[in-house]
């Protein structure tokens, strides 16, 4: 087995053993930390250890029993849902328009839509804080949703763009040559075929908002503090085991979303 050839250039599996070990270790480094938190969150003591010496649900009880954490969770879920509802149609229509046009204006709009991913988020955060202060929407749900929509837009555009690449745009032309308007061709011919892409984009937008810290740090607060914002402030003071319970729940959501997206991509081929 170890003497078998592993590459076209004559390296054996034995000669590559270090590579297998190194890759295994790095992959473990990547996935283990977040996954180890899950069993640790069921710890019976205030001190988080692995494996826990005693088991309990007390940190989950602390989380579900605290009005402060619950309010923040509701704000975060509302913000994530609204961000998805706003950013997906905006990103989808922009991406579709850019696909159809070839003008320099279109290219410029394309660059603009990628800016939220390029400009350092700390700068975006203080910029929003500054403008919101003049509009009086700091610490409001509206402000959080607008900020998160801005951050989610490039992700939606990239996801839809990748999906449209495998879509044959001649179908759109065929529909129009048969008398359908651009709008009708989009809703009846294109949309049903890129449904899965749109669901992926929606999930990415949802997760982007749900996990966002930096912008929320500046523009959310008071009764409209998001969950990550509250977690961040709590972590600056101490390692509260309640956060282990919340982290486990967030990890489960993220991994769940990833699995759904992967399965959909596999089905799309």
């Amino acid at each position: 087995m170890l003497k078998a050839q592993a590459s076209d250039t004559g390296i054996t599996h034995g000669g590559r053993l270090w590579l297998y070990v190194a890759t295994g270790l790095v992959l473990a480094y990547l996935v283990l930390p977040a996954l180890l938190i899950v069993p640790m969150s069921f710890s019976g003591s205030r001190y988080l250890e692995f494996p826990p010496r005693s088991w309990s649900l007390q940190w989950y009880q602390a989380y579900f029993g605290s009005p402060e954490w619950q309010d923040a969770t509701i704000v975060s879920l509302e913000a994530a849902a609204l961000t998805t509802l706003v950013s997906v149609p905006l990103g989808l229509s922009a991406c579709y328009a850019l696909r159809l046009t070839t003008s320099w204006v279109g290219r410029a709009v394309g660059v603009a839509l990628s800016l939220p991913m390029i400009v350092p988020v700390i700068f975006i955060g203080i910029g929003l804080f500054f403008v919101y202060a003049r509009l009086g929407i700091n610490n409001t749900l509206l402000g959080i949703v607008l900020g998160h929509t801005l951050l989610a837009l490039p992700f939606v555009v990239i996801t839809v763009e990748a999906g449209l690449k495998s879509f044959d745009m001649n179908q759109e032309m065929a529909a129009r040559s048969l008398g359908a308007s651009r709008a009708r061709a989009f809703f009846d011919v294109v949309l049903p075929q890129i449904k899965l892409v749109i669901i992926s984009a929606a999930l990415f937008a949802f997760i982007t908002s749900l996990d966002e810290v930096v912008v929320a740090l500046f523009v959310s607060g008071g009764e409209n503090a998001t969950l990550p914002r509250l977690m961040f402030s709590a972590l600056r003071d101490e390692i509260d085991p309640t956060i282990a319970a919340i982290s486990s729940l967030l990890t489960v959501i993220s991994v769940g979303v990833l699995i759904v997206v992967q399965v959909m991509q596999a089905r799309r081929g």
Binding site: D8, T9, G10, I11, L19, Y20, A22, T23, V26, L27, L30, V31, P33, A34, L36, I37, L48, F50, L90, G91, S93, A94, A97, L98, T101, V105, G106, V109, A112, L113, S114, L115, M117, I118, V119, P120, I122, F123, I124, I126, G127, F129, F130, V131, G147, L153, I158, R182, D211, V213, L217, L235, R236, S247, L250, T251, S254, V255, V257, L258
Partner: protein, 290 residues
Amino acid sequence: MTAVNTLELSRDTRRERVRLLLPSGPGFAVVLLLLILPVGWLFLLSLVDGAGHLSLVNYERLLQPLYIRTFISTLEISAIVTGACVLLGFPVAYLLSQLPPWLGSLGMIFVLIPFWTSVLVRTYAWLVLLQRRGLVNNLLLQIGLITEPLQLVYNMTGTIIGMTHVLLPFLILPLYSSMRAINGDYMRAAANCGAGPTKAFWGIFMPLCTPGLTSGVILVFVLCMGFYVTPSLLGGGKVSMWSMQIESNIALYSNWGAASALGVLLLVVTLLLLWGVRRLLGADRVYGDA
């Protein structure tokens, strides 16, 4: 076709072009109002002194030792983290790209799981694992590598471990896809022509995956320079990053001029790096793969 008709047609095409762009309007408006306008506004603020006169005082202040130290430590940390990402990410991307596609994709799930897990959650995990009586110290004590718990967190060490962990997927993803795209025939041809594994790797494989490696390196470096969450939690106040200076200028001193100047400079450096790579590699490679 008469001249009038041609004119009419070209006018029609133009009108159609404008109409086609309309659906991108709302998305563009969001970026314009929430990003371009605020950043432009802050840029103007950075050029004004306390009395409201046009001046470069905010930029001159950046030459103070406090800020110079911050810039140096930000660049230092970014370089170390980027180096660590290359060291850890290259073997992974290479092996996964050489495996059969289904197995490679399965391995990539291990890269994507952290990619989609909250940065805050992962930072918290490191806080727990690296603390004085945490899992890592306990393991090291048990196997006898150390006799006393090491200070692994709330310092530079913890910051680098955590930042590398968060940014590693950004290096592996573009590198993996550029390695996957390399046609196996080239390596077979090299072997056929008598090149040993080492020669074929350096002569054929490396040059072909360099674009993916470069875009990964720049992406990680740029993200490092603007990183806030992980260094401010794992650094424990001992590590000073560019982004943390921006935050403290707003939160502690409400000094918009200073914060804006720091932000503008950070943005300029970021754009220069990205622009340099675009020039180097051609436009769509930097983000195309990631």
